[in-house]
């Protein structure tokens, strides 16, 4: 087992699947010669050739549509969209084709399509390149959405996505590509959609995903010093959601805090809060709270940008408020 970077884990997963199954191929802008904007397909064109690691023109709807057609014909395409912001061009292929064809064909066609793309706020990329949009895709029945937060999950979940007969969006995060973690390529993976408890705690449950998970874990560590034990759940999948893990935890702690980078309004947290209150209402000791991004196009100014999404202090404050504890001096 070794410590590698998130992008390296994705690279290894893609390499392993390309090696294991001739039906697997990847395509997208700059995936070939350049090796991928975030180096995910680095070295793969040399290894598997330009037909299986395919550069495309800037034409998201077309090459995603190509991926849909290839999947219908039995291949296992891995489409890379440079960022989730450009997936807006490919919405017809993703929403009207990939998500619908298995249903509308009465199951005659499967859709073993993987669409990889990074989302999230990086550093000063401007409002049009700082979107998260995961709740938009959650609203499309028929899609699976994996949101790996660790290199290990990136490795596992990309391989599982490629092997899945359903269309899977692997939503990466621009700020996670260079995060480090141990990856065991031999360990057996939990199911693609299973949520994992990253830290146990008795006082409240914090549900999070993607880059907000490390942030929540830091907050949990800070709360530990105050005598508060916050459980941190990493959802790992936004569609479907592993309700069993969330419900079990909330029934234990009776308090739930949701941390999401996406906008608060009609976001992931809204869905989580609604479902969890239905399932846990009589065991809740306080209203479910959300710490989320502000409902505004991301400002370019670095200070404003940082203030537009959850920071550790926001999580600490929300957790203390949820537990009826006095706020520290700040």
């Amino acid at each position: 087992m070794s410590e590698i970077l998130y992008w390296q884990a994705l690279n290894q997963a893609l390499d392993a699947e390309l090696a294991a199954d001739d039906a697997v191929f990847t395509l997208g802008e700059d995936v070939g010669l350049y090796g991928g904007t975030y180096r995910v397909s680095e070295g793969l064109m040399a290894k598997y050739g330009e037909w299986r690691v395919r550069d495309t023109p800037i034409s998201e709807n077309s090459f995603t549509g190509l991926g849909v057609s290839a999947a219908m014909l039995g291949l296992r395409p891995v489409v890379e969209i440079m960022t989730i912001n450009f997936a807006l061009f490919a919405m017809d292929s993703i929403v009207n084709m990939a998500a619908k064809i298995p249903f509308m064909s009465g199951g005659q066609f499967t859709m073993p399509l993987t669409i990889r793309m990074p989302g999230g706020i990086a550093r000063q990329l401007g409002a049009q390149h700082s979107q998260r949009l995961e709740s938009m895709f959650m609203n499309v029945p028929g899609l699976r959405i994996a949101v790996p937060s660790t290199p290990q999950d990136a490795y596992w979940q990309l391989r599982q996505a490629i092997r899945s007969d359903d269309p899977v969006i692997v939503l990466e995060h621009e700020l996670l590509y260079f995060s480090k973690g141990e990856v065991d390529t031999h360990a057996s993976a939990p199911p693609l959609h299973q949520a994992l408890i990253r830290r146990s705690g008795r006082d409240l449950t914090c549900i999070s995903y993607s880059r907000m998970v490390p942030l929540a874990l830091e907050a949990a560590q800070a709360l530990h010093a105050e005598g508060v034990e916050m459980e941190v759940i990493d959802l790992r999948s936004l569609s479907p959601i592993d309700w069993a893990t969330c419900v079990e935890s909330v029934l234990r702690t009776h308090r739930c805090l949701i941390v999401e980078e996406d906008c608060r309004f009609a976001g992931v947290g809204a869905e989580l809060a609604a479902e969890l209150q239905e399932r846990c209402f009589y065991q809740l000791d306080a209203p479910i709270q959300r710490v989320a991004g502000l409902d505004l196009p991301t400002p370019f100014n670095a200070t404003l940008e940082a203030a537009s999404i959850p920071r550790q202090e926001d999580i600490l404050k929300a957790a203390r408020a949820l537990l009826n504890l006095p706020q520290g001096e700040s």
Partner: protein
């Protein structure tokens, strides 16, 4: 810069403090170490000292309300303008009562409709604390009890005690309760209306659990008409200590002894009977380590010095000044020390180090000729307490020793009484 002045923690048992007066007003300059307010704690009135130079800024916490320790009671700012700007003088009471969430709760009605009255009791005004403020009972619902409330009539404003009707309807708590709190309350057989809300005015599971673990409130609904007033901090502290002491497994052992030899020997030496008796007890305690220790969860605590606490009736309640090192100090020094302690009792200025932490206690009701026998409760932290009654018709006085059975067994206690009786019968040792 604005810094909060907090309700100080003046003893390890102190959970709330009650301000008896402000020595300074908003905008006044204060110097480091200066007494800016007086606070009544468990057993004493102590000064709140400024921790830095500055100007006092509001909101000032109200006088005569229980304020949790470490809550802000006022602020210190750098200049007078800031001090005056921070407080417009009107919102003081409301803001300050927000700062004391323990006071709020079910009675979150506007101040005028809160059934509360302030009254100076004539009998308590003579309390030898020298502090009239300290004896002002504020009638206000104590935590955890059910008080039928009704809107007070116009005449029943702040100056009259609130008389609570006997057949009042149970009030529905204005506080919301979390679903979990409700479920828990149902499981525990509690009704949500009888639970005091938490700091945010809502009832959570923690409040339900606290209510379940607390002693059941007295149901006053069907009894005679009554009024509720706030006991003094001293009385509340005694009540808390007595509840804590009830957990001590104890037994009693008695004897009768003629105390006149000790009286006479004391007179010869111009020594008060209390001191002579204390000395006798201290010497006897010093002979048996089991009497100079206490059982704790972490182990048996044995002490290297005998400190004897003496129950004193202040008229307003019970207090136990402690004579440190009562076994080996020179008698004259002990007498002087005792005189100082009694002076502090009279002015209500006994500090925690004056009344806490005795190994052994003495309670003497001998001046009440009718009391032929009684026994006392062992305070937490002590090994035993000796109750001294008045002499019976045969001239002998009943002594009853109540012992903490975790450390002391029956035969130990018997031997203790044997040695003590010997000392009392033949007090030639007292010089």
């Amino acid at each position: 810069m604005k810094q909060a002045i907090l309700m100080p923690v003046l003893s390890d048992t102190m959970q709330t403090g009650r301000l008896t007066r402000w020595n300074k007003s908003v905008g006044d300059p204060v110097h480091k170490g200066e007494a800016i307010a007086e606070v009544e704690t468990d057993k004493a009135i102590l000064d709140v000292e400024a921790f830095a130079d500055g100007f006092l800024a509001g909101p000032l916490a109200p006088v005569d309300e229980d304020i949790p320790v470490r809550q802000p009671i006022a602020y210190l700012v750098d200049n007078r303008e800031a001090a005056l700007a921070a407080d417009d003088g009107t919102a003081t009471a409301e803001k300050a009562s927000e700062a004391a969430p323990a006071k709020t709760g079910a009675n979150q009605a506007p101040a005028d409709t809160t059934p509360r009255a302030t009254q100076v009791s004539a009998s308590q005004a003579t309390v030898p604390t020298g502090k009239e403020d300290a004896s002002v009972p504020v009638s206000s619902p104590p935590a955890g009890t059910q008080i039928p409330t009704s809107p007070p009539s116009p005449s029943a404003k702040r100056n009259a005690p609130t008389t609570v009707p006997t057949a009042g309807n149970l009030p529905r708590s204005a506080a919301g309760a979390s679903p979990y709190a409700r479920a828990l309350a149902q499981d525990l057989g509690l009704t949500i209306e009888e639970i005091q809300p938490g700091a945010d005015g809502q009832i959570h599971a923690s409040e339900v659990l606290a209510a379940a673990l607390a002693p059941r409130p007295v149901d006053l609904r069907y009894g005679p008409p009554y009024q509720i007033s706030k006991p003094s901090a001293l009385r509340e502290a005694v009540a808390r200590n007595m509840i804590a002491a009830a957990a001590t497994p104890s037994f009693r052992i008695s004897t009768r002894v003629d105390l006149s030899p000790l009286h006479e020997q004391g007179k010869r030496l111009r020594l008060s009977f209390t001191l002579a008796l204390t000395r006798a007890c201290a010497l006897t305690v010093a002979e048996d380590p089991w009497f100079n220790g206490v059982w704790t969860p972490t182990g048996w605590v044995s002490r290297s010095r005998v400190d004897v606490g003496i129950a004193v009736d202040t008229g307003a309640g019970l207090i136990t000044p402690v004579l440190r090192d009562a076994a080996s100090r020179p008698l004259a020094e002990l007498a002087e020390y005792w005189r100082i302690l009694l002076g502090k009792v009279k002015t209500g200025r006994l500090a925690p180090e004056d009344y806490q932490g005795a190994s052994f206690y003495v309670s003497n009701l001998g001046i009440f000729a009718e009391v032929e026998e009684f026994d006392a409760i062992v305070p937490v932290g002590a090994s035993a307490i000796l109750a001294v009654a008045a002499p019976a018709s045969d001239g002998r006085t009943q002594l009853t020793l109540t012992c903490d059975h975790r450390g002391i067994f029956g035969a130990d206690a018997a031997r203790f009484l044997q040695r003590l009786t010997q000392r009392l019968k033949d007090p030639a040792w007292l010089q």
